[in-house]
Amino acid sequence: MIIRILGEGQYDVADHALDRLNELDATLEAAVEASDDAAFSTALASLLDGVRTAGVAHPADSLDESDLILPPSDATIDEVRQMLNEDGLIPG
């Protein structure tokens, strides 16, 4: 599975690592819903670290689409909220 961290590039992540990443993802989602800034920062850092640790860099010259796309490491909780909004942050 290919996971992109925005601003960093794509990683190939083995399927068996996904359970752990899904747990981290759920924590992050809960932090966004609870508007808990501190929990959000910790959860985002853990999720991105999880991807970087479990994954290897996908070749830069491939034209493959990612299966999952994650926010940049310095994203704020508000930016992530905007990303979840159709009219949000991502330039169209």
Partner: protein, 269 residues
Amino acid sequence: MSLMKRISLIFRSKANKALDRAEDPRETLDYSYQRQLDLLSKVRRGVADVATSRKRVELQVTQLEQSAAKLQAQAEKSLQMNREDLAREALTRKSALASQITDLKTQHAQLLGEEEKLTLAQQRLQAKVESFRTRKETIKATYTAAEAQTRINEAMSGIGEEMGDVGLAIQRAEDKTAQMQARAGAIDELIASGALDDASAINQGDDITRELEAMSSQADVEAELARLKGISAPQAPEAIEAAPDAGEILADEPEKQESVSDASKDGQA
């Protein structure tokens, strides 16, 4: 649905919407390639802009550090002259500069981080654009309408996602740089107005410098007098010609004799 999946879906649908489709799929390829090249030059400009801001902050840090060093020297000189009040004033101003310097160094680290990120984004996009160009030429060379659309869609969606990512990175870097430029502009104005380095600028009439200069010119006069008195005392004439000042003459004298005797020993050997 998980957060990752929601973000992915929205990101992808936006990236795909941004791709323009022409009547002839081959035109779509060329048009997309042109937009990729445009984006590449935009990233390069972005890297250059961030580097310019970073260098400006570096220059400001250097200026403020020089001011702080001057204030430190003033404080030391003031203490030597038993003027604790002046030393305290100089150190107070220095500590105000120190917090500005710390702030600027944080900004500098952030700008450096943005610059590295954008440089890497540029390299990734460059690699993908190059792949896209190769794939585009292959598709056009072996073009059959039936299979073209699928292969074009594959190539386009991969590059579209990268373009969306790079576009976002540029936008974020621009936002951050703009904020920092506003602050850097404010510091430039402060430096230009003299508010920050007046205290340490030489001959610009700040109070610490004036007082120190007044005291040191007195001290210099005394030192010069003492020197003249020393010189007027009987000395070996050749030593006066060789050395410019009395203290050195006295210190140099024994060495000179040694070196002469060394030389004469060498001569004998």
